[in-house]
């Protein structure tokens, strides 16, 4: 489908290579906040006006696209600059629709991320923003796959970003999606609870059709919206027929988020894909958010490159012998589901 050449991310953690879970930054009051860099590539005057998600998205992107001839920018973000939207909403209320400053309105639109990257890199190519909640990133990936099918020699930036907005987080808590607990990384999956720990971050990828020098190859992707675990089983089997052929899966990356209402989907996935395959979990690092699948793809690239899995990532003592092929499965609160298949680059 397409090759991944460069990756970048901003997340709550500085590294995935912890000896054990004790040194991993825990969620505080139900939130795993991103560890932001100083953004040396963004001009100071522009940086000051940017909201967090725009900063994270642009900041992560600029570290890998400086020397790239890109033909377009494709971003997935469920909420874009939700914090700016909420600030604008607060202005509307506070000033009773008086003379408002447009800054929050302009920064809060979800396409501000892709368009700011285009603006700062003078990129007049394809530019698109997908906002479909738990599948926003996967739709961005499919968009890139389709652009590359039509334009064989092109390269694209594809990525995702989402931020925790305090205001909007309250709504997620009212829905029961998130809780407000302090949970240590080592207890992330053990504390059976309703609601997950919220996270945020950005992950960016340069993709094209060039096999040479690639970190990884995305060889399959499927997305659907269905709450029935049996339907998940059917789609996994269809996926296997369509993309996997006879090649074995060395590692599963699972989107388990510590909310036991959704364990059923992940156990169904594990038994369908193969119950002896080692399983990696990652949301104790980045928390749960709509585009967390972008973090899992970044992680998969890391594991394919390093051929080493830190033990805090593994669900059991079962270590992979080699890592050539990874299946990633994620569900966003049991409604939106995605399956991705990734192979080691050459």
């Amino acid at each position: 489908m397409m090759y991944i050449h460069k990756t970048a991310q901003i997340s709550p953690q500085e590294t995935i290579f912890h000896k054990d879970a004790d040194t991993i930054k825990p969620g505080v009051n139900g939130k795993l906040l991103a560890k932001e860099p100083l953004y040396p590539f963004i001009p100071a005057g522009i940086l000051r006006r940017m909201g967090k998600s725009v900063k994270m998205g642009v900041g992560a992107a600029l570290t890998i696209i400086e020397k790239e001839e890109l033909n377009g920018i494709i971003i997935g973000t469920a909420n874009g600059g939700m914090n700016d939207c909420m600030k604008f909403l607060q202005q509307i209320v506070d000033y009773e629709e008086g003379m408002l400053s447009p800054g929050n309105f302009v920064q809060g639109v979800p396409n501000a991320i892709a368009s700011q990257i285009g603006l700062l890199t003078h990129n007049k190519g394809y530019n698109n923003t997908h906002v479909h909640e738990g599948l926003a990133f996967e739709n961005a990936l499919m968009d890139a796959v389709m652009q590359l099918a039509e334009n064989k020699n092109n390269s694209y930036l594809v990525g995702a970003v989402d931020e925790i907005s305090d205001f909007y987080h309250n709504i997620e808590i009212l829905k029961g999606n998130f809780n407000s607990d302090n949970i240590l990384a080592k207890d992330f999956y053990a504390t059976k609870q309703k609601g997950a720990i919220a996270g945020e971050g950005a992950a960016m990828f340069v993709v094209n059709n060039q096999q040479e020098g690639a970190i990884a190859k995305l060889t399959g992707i499927d997305t659907f919206n269905n709450t029935d675990p049996e339907y998940l089983r059917k789609r996994l089997l269809d996926f296997k027929t369509k993309y996997q052929e006879e090649a074995p899966i060395d590692l599963i990356i699972s989107g388990e988020n510590g909310d036991d209402r959704f364990d059923n989907y992940y156990s169904t996935m594990e038994t369908t894909v193969g119950k002896d395959i080692p399983v990696v979990r990652f949301k104790h690092l980045c928390g749960e958010y709509s585009t967390a699948a972008s973090y899992s793809l970044w992680l998969a690239c890391q594991l394919l490159q390093n051929q080493e899995v830190p033990s805090h990532l593994l669900k059991s003592e079962n270590h992979p012998k080699q890592i050539n092929r990874i299946l990633i499965y994620n569900t966003y609160f049991g409604v939106q589901q995605s399956i991705m298949l990734l192979e080691k680059g050459v």
Partner: protein, 396 residues
């Protein structure tokens, strides 16, 4: 490569509650930009808007929906257009829920039209609400996906005012690449206090009725609409009624400013030029342009210059925003439906409120209804963030 056909359309806007009503309004040169009844905003009496004169409660009754589901006006408008398009295309429930039917929504407000409810929940002054799942951009597509038990690819696109054009492009690409057999594209935005205040803070709302491409234009009027377009591949349409072909499309970025277009209109130029290449036709084969034409100082002069860069002689053009107002995330879809009407009926509709051309360009939009032999119509959508997309619809 097989062709992508339009096999169903549905639409609602300030000039009509279905495609037929809007067709009559376009022919007659009617507009729906008026003072408004249904909007809770202090600007409701200060600016005219393209409002649909049906209340939320009336929609719930018409659609036989359940008031306790907490549906936003945005979702209600989308459902109304969706049902018309499904009937028009005669899609069965099996086809709707099939894994190869994609649903691609485009919206810029989504459920944030429920601004008062959102504020109460977000500030925890109201701890319970039927609207908790209604606020996000995804809420429209999610409700339709659940209601019609859709198992195919579902997506929502938000590239500001070009959202719907990009949704049409995404849907066509899904079909071309075999990810879907048919794609249902739904563009929708409802009038909302949030957007009204946003555009007012940018000082681009006109207190008069908008005058696209006029020398004395002074801003845009916001409107609300939903339009649904069903795309299918040529070989799957043997016994179906075909309205048009989506024959070319292109997305480019102006890369100039967050809320204004560059003087030379590079983004608009690139999207129009790219669409011609994609459709494999020369500029002379375009018989009509449904222009973006918002009525703002910036857009209309830049779009005019970009058209003049591409076309030696600019073909007949007009902006239907003088009929409906600027419907933002729905604009690309509602204008796609109007472009398809140009093709079905072989006719063009007059631009309204135009008196005097822009001095720099001297371009005059079409101001009278006329019959015209039309093979190809271009439809432009340009958005904040420099997101520019152009589509070409052709006679099948």
């Amino acid at each position: 490569m097989s062709k992508i056909f339009v096999t169903g359309i549905g639409a609602i806007s300030a000039i009509g509650n279905n495609v037929e009503e809007q067709h009559k309004a376009l022919m007659g040169g009617y507009y729906g930009i008026t003072t408004v009844n249904n909007i809770d905003s202090k600007y409701a009496s200060l600016f005219p808007f393209g409002e649909i004169k049906i209340t939320d409660n009336q929609f719930i009754e018409i659609l036989k929906e359940d008031n306790y589901k907490g549906l936003s006006r945005t979702t209600l408008l989308a459902l109304h257009a969706f049902e018309e398009a499904i009937k028009n295309c005669q899609l069965t429930n099996e086809e709707l829920s099939s894994a190869d039917t994609a649903l691609i929504c485009a919206t810029t407000i989504g459920g944030m039209s429920l601004i008062n409810e959102l504020y109460r929940n977000a500030t925890l002054t109201d701890l319970d609400s039927k609207y908790l799942y209604s606020y996000d951009y995804t809420s429209v597509a999610r409700y339709m996906q659940e209601k019609y038990k859709m198992n195919g690819i579902v997506n929502t696109i938000n590239t500001a005012c070009s959202s719907s054009a990009n949704a049409l492009i995404y849907g066509a690409n899904l079909i071309k690449n075999g990810f879907a057999k048919r794609a249902i594209i739904c563009g929708v935005d409802s009038l909302a206090k949030f957007t009204i205040n946003g555009f007012n803070s940018l000082r681009i709302l006109s207190s008069d009725i908008c005058k696209p491409f006029d020398a004395e234009r002074n801003g845009l009027n916001l409107g609300e609409a939903s339009a649904v377009i069903i795309l299918e591949k040529e070989e799957d349409c043997k016994d179906k009624k075909i309205y048009a072909t989506l024959s070319g499309y292109y997305n480019a970025n102006d890369a100039f400013h967050a809320s204004a277009l560059s003087e030379n209109g590079d983004g608009p130029y690139l999207s129009m030029a790219g669409a011609l290449v994609s459709a494999k036709i020369p500029a002379t084969e375009i018989q009509f342009i449904n222009a973006h034409g918002t009525g703002t100082e910036n857009n209309d002069v830049v779009e005019s210059k970009a058209m003049m860069r591409i076309f030696n002689t600019v073909p007949p053009f007009a902006s239907t925003k003088s009929n409906t107002g600027h419907t933002l995330g729905a604009a690309g879809a509602i204008e796609a439906v109007f472009s398809i009407l140009n093709i079905i009926h072989q006719e063009i509709y007059p631009a309204l409120h135009f008196t005097k051309p822009i001095e720099d360009t001297g371009l005059n939009p079409v101001v009278i209804y006329k019959k015209l032999s039309i093979q190809n119509v271009m439809s432009n959508s340009f958005g904040f963030g420099g997101n520019c997309s152009s589509l070409i619809f052709s006679k099948p």
